[in-house]
């Protein structure tokens, strides 16, 4: 069994006036796992990953990251563990006042002793990976929504984190751009070998993650063989009103008869 990356034990969160935004959530991710978190808007998906990153505190429960209990971490302690996690924010989170190059270099320059010069090759590589090598001197406001998403992916991945969290990478994009983003995430998973969690409300995204891999030789996506270990390690999680209402692999998701859960499966039209 590979090592535990992220573990939630009975994690709950209430805001002032909003009860149980997260309600007794337990989950665990091991190194190399892919977790696909599905759920309607307001289900608590963003809140959950922000707790994993220490951007929000939990009201109760226990959170473990890389085997370390982080439940009671202070902000300076969080600063020591966050470099191991890369996050793509739902709203982008790119710094308006910085160029694309400076944005992607930020995690390197800010957290390591690297200068902008030293970071440049890695930044260029990360941007070339998301096919945005030509945008170094542009500002985020000059790019399209899909391009900004890709810059966000480059920034999340540039420092080679052990855990990658993608908050709604395809939200608000047309299907073609959305598929391109998913292809990049699959490629990122293959090459960096990182543990990844992807939030989505589209069942297609989960289906792609669960069934395709990137072939570095042909440089193309290809269907995974039935017995591929990656397939075993891709799990689905469906959230509803702060609770996890389903957890399992794609076959189990497809087989679910629950009307809410089946909205997120390939065979939802049967019901």
């Amino acid at each position: 069994m590979s090592s535990s990356v992220l573990k939630f034990e009975n994690v709950s969160l209430s805001f002032d006036g909003v009860e149980n935004v997260l309600d007794n959530v337990s989950l665990e991710m091991h190194a190399g796992d892919t977790l696909i978190i599905l759920g309607a808007a307001g289900a608590g998906k963003t809140v959950m990953v922000k707790i994993a990153l220490g951007l929000l505190g939990s009201t109760s429960g226990r959170i473990t990251l890389f085997g370390q209990d982080v439940t009671k971490f202070t902000e300076p302690q969080w600063f020591t563990i966050r470099p191991r996690i890369g996050m793509l924010f739902q709203e982008g989170g790119l710094f308006d006042s910085l160029t694309i190059e400076e944005n992607v270099a930020y995690p390197l320059v800010n957290r390591t002793k690297m200068t902008a010069e030293q970071a440049k090759p890695k930044v260029e590589e990360a941007l070339k990976f998301v096919e945005l090598g030509h945008t170094l001197d542009k500002f985020p406001s000059e790019l399209s929504g899909g391009m900004r998403r890709r810059v966000g992916i480059a920034r999340a991945a540039v420092s080679d984190p052990d855990l990658l969290l993608y908050d709604s990478p395809t939200a608000g994009l047309d299907p073609i751009t959305a598929n391109r983003i998913m292809a990049l995430i699959i490629q990122e998973r293959e090459i960096r070998n990182a543990t990844s969690a992807i939030i989505s409300h589209r069942f297609q995204d989960g289906h792609m993650m669960a069934n395709f891999r990137y072939n570095p030789e042909s440089k193309k996506l290809e269907r995974m063989p039935e017995d591929s270990p990656l397939r075993q390690r891709t799990r689905f999680l469906v959230m509803h009103d702060g609770r996890i209402v389903f957890e399992g692999n794609e076959r189990e998701l497809d087989a679910s008869r629950d009307p809410y859960v089946s909205k997120f499966s390939m065979h939802r039209s049967i019901h």
């Binding site: 002032d16 922000k50 990153l53 220490g54 951007l55 902000e75 969080w78 600063f79 966050r82 470099p83 996690i85 996050m87 924010f89 739902q90 709203e91 982008g92 989170g93 790119l94 710094f95 308006d96 930020y106 995690p107 800010n110 957290r111 920034r155």
Partner: protein, 252 residues
Amino acid sequence: MFDFLKSPILTFQEFISLAGRATINIVRRPFYANDMMIQMDVIGVGSLPITVLIGFFSGAVMALQMSRALSQYGATGQVGQITAITLVREMGPVLTALLVAGRNASGIASELGSMKVTEQIDAMRALGTDPVKKLVTPRLLAMCCTLPLLTILADMIGIIGGFIVAVPMLRLTTTEQYWNNAWRSLEYNDIAQGLLKPLVFAFIIALVGCLYGIRTTGGTQGVGRATTQAVVVASVWIFVFTFLITRVFVNL
């Protein structure tokens, strides 16, 4: 029963905690000197023209208002003193602060609010930067440096405005008497409260702007709400504090 007090008390608590963190960060590394310079430019240089205008007209209108009252007592020679004292003690600091609150408490709240709703502040924390250090402290320092200077400028221009009304326009007194009178009337006490007030107001404006910006929720609409609230709250506190400070100085 006292539920309606809960939200203001929580806000006040947040304000105090933000004020503490922002102030401690002044002496902690890293320093974002560049951000502070940019803010000084935005707040200080940006507010210059309007400070000059407001300062000039507040001094002019003071002299104009006082001309009638003073001539009733045959004391038109005192116009310099009255203009200088009201400007330095009260009008200069409060008007400048209200102006800067309108321009910059809103500016800060909307800038930080947009950063909040586009998750730039979350991203900052995720990428190893303390937003209080990077965003709040530079604004606080810049405000504390520039607002007293703007106030001094407003005071000076105001006294000149009063002069233009009192001497060339209404011939209430002579040039020499006006300036002598204005200069001599200012005591240590006046200068002290005239400089303490803008410093306190700077804290209020910068921190209220930052607090309402950082607390923004609810997308673009929320940014608009935060902006309005920041200006209203900062303005109210400016009046409360000018009263409190004056109360202290009156007895000295």
